[in-house]
Symmetry: C2
Subunit: 458 residues, 2 copies
């Protein structure tokens, strides 16, 4: 994050987002009936649908747009040697400090934001009463034991990233998927980090879903592909509706770079808490393949049949978080406005991301409207994700659909019985047009297909 003065005035607070997500069943605090378990969330109906759409768009960008990329889904609990080779056992740590007085534990690099446990003050960083230890390194991997014995031989870890599962399958993909550089291996899956400092809703949690792709290239082509993927990934977010004013690409300084990376740029988004990392695009060089070669004894290289020479490919890695991306899409889509003297909250989600594409609503629950609306609904949902809703006033039902981001509302009213037309309401412009009910499903399917390359305007 960069200093506060560089942030624009936030248009929505995180509290407002959290409230909407709970109210509309996107995201609930986990284990809430037991008082919760810090920074852990369960996704409700619309949350599952929205995140599934985010993941589907990522797969589309990776697989449909790139024949040279293949999919992978590796295990969460891998051989512990994997994490030795990757450097996670040795180096994936946070420095922690204990207080002998208040018994609390703090991150040494965040001490200034922390409060003493015995005498919490309004002045974080005030630890005058504290008796602090030296900082000690604390590994962020969750540890467990495989098998019935709990000893050092049975220790295993929950993966802290999906990337290593890709590197250890490099040879399988070369051999069985017949790929040659440049080629990519893409994976979506959960990772786990025993973070001390979680927070900002689903921005930083202990379990989270990653979308990572490792792109293996001839060494001299690495800088070119690094540029390529930075551009591609920025475009993915803007194509799906994120305003470019809320996005930026920030290159890591030499002091920030991970041990494996020669160059990394972060795509940052202007979240309510300020500019924060949305996705990292790293040039990992040949670090990982060489490490796994050293630790496993398996040669991880590509033999080029043209030059008759073997080489270790370099790796470009776009690494995104599905939850974090989803949060950015919600924040960017969140809007309020006054309509006829009433405040309206609306999620202006890209139609491809919206959990529900169309709502079919009878104006009132009588005069045959529900039956006609149901028939239209059955037609519409055979083409696009749709909902039928007849409960409560039409205004209340519109507001509900606005808040879950449904782009189109189809209303059946008195006139429908007479001339077979319905109104089609546009979520963003609030424009309502009358259309024949017949063919409206195809009309919406076409609009959805059309929406693909028409991002929101800034």
């Amino acid at each position: 994050m960069v200093p506060a003065q560089e942030t624009r005035a936030p248009e929505v607070t995180l509290d407002e987002i959290v409230a909407l997500c709970k109210r509309r069943g996107f995201i609930f605090p986990s284990s809430e009936i037991y008082g919760g378990i810090g920074s852990t969330y369960d996704y409700g109906h619309y949350g599952v649908l929205l995140r599934n759409n985010v993941k589907a768009e990522w797969w589309r960008a990776m697989l449909s747009d790139h024949e040279e990329i293949v999919a992978l889904d590796s295990a969460v609990i891998q051989h512990p040697k994997v994490w030795e080779a990757s450097g996670h056992i040795g180096g994936f740590t946070d420095p922690l400090i204990d207080c002998r007085t208040c018994k609390l534990r703090f991150r040494a690099d965040k001490l200034e934001d922390a409060e003493c446990g015995r005498k919490p003050s309004k002045h974080p960083g005030e630890h005058s009463e504290c008796d602090l230890t030296e900082a000690r390194q604390f590994n962020l991997m969750f540890e467990t034991h495989v098998g019935p014995l709990k000893d050092s031989a049975s220790v295993a870890y929950l993966r802290p990233e999906t990337a290593q599962g890709i590197f250890i399958n490099f040879k399988n993909v070369l051999q069985f998927a017949r790929r040659k550089p440049p080629f990519g291996i893409a994976q979506i899956g959960k990772s786990f980090r025993n973070e001390i400092t979680t927070g900002n809703f689903i921005f930083r949690t202990r379990e989270f879903e990653q979308m990572e792709m490792e792109y293996f290239v001839p060494p001299d082509e690495a800088p070119k592909w690094h540029e390529y993927w930075m551009e591609e990934r920025m475009r993915w977010f803007t194509d799906l509706g994120i305003r470019s004013a809320g996005l930026r690409l920030r290159e890591h300084g030499p002091d920030e770079l991970s041990h494996y990376s020669s160059a990394t740029s972060d795509i940052e988004y202007l979240f309510p808490m300020g500019w924060s990392e949305l996705e990292g695009i790293a040039n990992r060089g040949d670090f990982d393949l060489r490490q796994h070669t050293e630790f496993s004894g398996e040669k991880l290289e590509y033999f080029d049949p043209d030059t008759k020479e073997a080489y270790v490919p370099h790796v470009i890695e776009p690494a995104a978080g599905a939850d974090r991306a989803m949060l950015a899409f919600i924040v960017d889509a969140y809007d309020t406005e006054e309509v006829e003297g009433r405040k309206r909250t609306v999620l202006r989600l890209h139609p491809r991301l919206a959990p529900v594409k169309a709502a079919v609503l009878p104006l009132v629950s009588k005069e045959g409207m529900p039956e006609r609306a149901r028939a239209i609904y059955d037609e519409v949902r055979s083409k696009v994700a749709a909902e039928y809703d007849e409960g409560g006033s039409i205004g209340r039902r519109y507001r509900r659909q606005d808040e879950i981001g449904t782009p189109w509302g189809i209303t059946v009213d008195g006139q429908t019985a007479d001339d077979g037309t319905v109104t089609l309401r546009d979520r963003d412009s609030l424009e309502q047009v009358r259309l024949p009910a017949e063919g409206i499903a195809e009309h919406l399917a076409a609009k959805l297909a059309e929406a693909w390359r028409s991002p929101k305007l800034d």
Copy 2:
């Protein structure tokens, strides 16, 4: 599993399935370059696509066919009280026996299949040299610690099932998704069990993906809905091509029933190792909601506005494994036959499950065929999942597509340049028909839509 004499002669061995899955990049043993980690698998490209299709069909059956079912995705690491209430901390155990001589540990109920570590013999169950302890209960949940301290207060578990994440969100769904019984909550996600006896490829592994739905109903309707879901779930498998001769519904005897269940039936499939559980459909009664009410103090009940009475719904649970279902689909689809004196291996997967729907192949890599094939490929893949392949002889490429289960092959040959036609090859019948290349994408999309309710014949 039932005794061997009741099984039909297996048509395919598990070894053949494992070999195909590796050869064609469906499934690899995990961490293989480090010698593997027992019974853990990584899914390669076609494995990811196939399992994604299985999951998509499950979501379709749950959500698209049932407006009253909503989706959920709960956390893997939940509040430890969840597992106290569910009975997992107390009762989710296997009885283990140690040998003081050979230092091995055995499952007491599988002692007859195990070999002594000091004197492995060809006669399992021969433990004459062993000095065995009494059986002790061993909990199957993976344990870890949240936060930097490893003490009893920080103990947490990886969920052994997704179901409990649903029960603890019962109130959220009632309140925010405005549902009333009968309604369902469906979830797909990974679960983890520290199994001592794993095996049979992806049939029983320590991490696996579950597809579980909890259906909340008025108590007196529970038997009716239990019947309903047994039928629905059987039909799901046969609709997706599993031969009904390989499927059966088996009711648990009173001695088999779980503590929470008043009635359970398993859908069993005739795997190469014999009849084994594919999916369980349990009547869980009100056990779980009552337990969580007791342990959390939160009333988990439904207030019926018509009768003005509150009641605790009963629960019907169809619980399937995505990996296990995928294995059944592969086994059932696996076939070999002799074609023109050569053995052909083919996966007769239902077109909706097939990872690739159509392969576009130039007969040879010259005379403009690759260019024409590419143009057709671009058209086809805009409608259905497709692959382009120009490497090697046409026979070899067909065999490759047969083994990954691609239902349709489009071949561009010399005649294509003359009259714009291609051949369309059917994976199952091997019939080849000539068709205009124009419109072939739409033709296949229509065939795919049509394939929906046309299961394979027995």
